[in-house]
Symmetry: C2
Subunit: 142 residues, 2 copies
DNA sequence: GTAAACCTTGACGTCCGTGTCAAGGTCAAG
DNA sequence: CTTGACCTTGACACGGACGTCAAGGTTTAC
């Protein structure tokens, strides 16, 4: 299977496939031409990688958990990797709650009837603004 | 209030504050020095902007909904603004679904008990792999 | 007077998955 | 032989929210 076929088979561009290889996410043999040659399992691997990208994981993380996917048998250390994936999952859960909270806040802004009470505002700047429920802002270090 | 104080008060870097101003998210007067001067309400504004950034909104969107937060009184055009906020709310709902979807994908890969069944793998390459619950891959055109 | 701590604008760097162009090599069909 | 579809590596571009450095001006403390 050459790169164009794999591209068509997976819906992922050739450029992206070469990038995956460069990132250590995808393997290929080489023909005497220099052309890349993929086995059929590459379709599964690319699918998995795409899933992980769509799940918001970075190349680094995917590279770490990927040996579980294409090695013969996972050898013990898989527990660590699964733990890592679980961390990412938990992070997503936190983001979920976070965004749900924001939405609820906007819903509150919307619920107080802007069209019925034209004097109300999004932010009560001349009020205390103490009950706006903002979170850990002072810890915005990166 | 000068920029350094506002930075300390909000936990947002001076660079970021200037960026907010450049993006039309934050206003400042100027002292004869050229130094920026902020009123105390800027703390609220910055907090709000941070909240919105953290919720995943872009500068453009925040700029659109922000007039409700710092203008004197919303004057009549509030209906438009409410519509805009409602759009943002819907956007948040989409993000919520998006993240929930990511989490579900990870859950799918995590669900089959890796630590209890040490022989199992993330991807069943030599199995059929048909029940792995991957979704619309053939339509991954951008 | 001079150091330190602030401020200014401007511009380039970062990350990351990918698009896109450049300048070529390879191969099958006509 | 030529055309055209395919492949190669290399390199630049992007968007977004900043970090960071440069080169300077201002204010405060001693």
């Amino acid at each position: 299977m050459r790169i164009g076929e794999l591209s068509k088979a997976t819906g992922v561009s050739s450029r992206a496939l070469r990038y995956y290889e460069q990132q250590g996410l995808l393997r290929s043999e080489r023909r005497p031409n220099g052309y890349r040659e993929y086995g059929p399992e590459s379709i599964e691997v690319v699918a998995f990688v795409q899933d992980m990208f769509h799940a918001g994981l970075s190349s680094d993380v995917i590279r770490d958990i990927l040996p579980c996917a294409w090695d013969e048998r996972p050898r013990g250390d898989c527990a660590e990797l699964v733990a890592r994936v679980r961390q990412v999952r938990d992070e997503l859960v936190r983001q979920e709650h976070h965004i749900a909270e924001r939405r609820r806040r906007l819903d509150t802004y919307l619920a107080d009837g802007y069209e019925t009470r034209p004097g109300s505002r999004l932010l009560s700047l001349d009020d205390q603004g103490a009950e706006l429920g903002r979170s850990e802002r002072s810890s915005t270090k990166r």
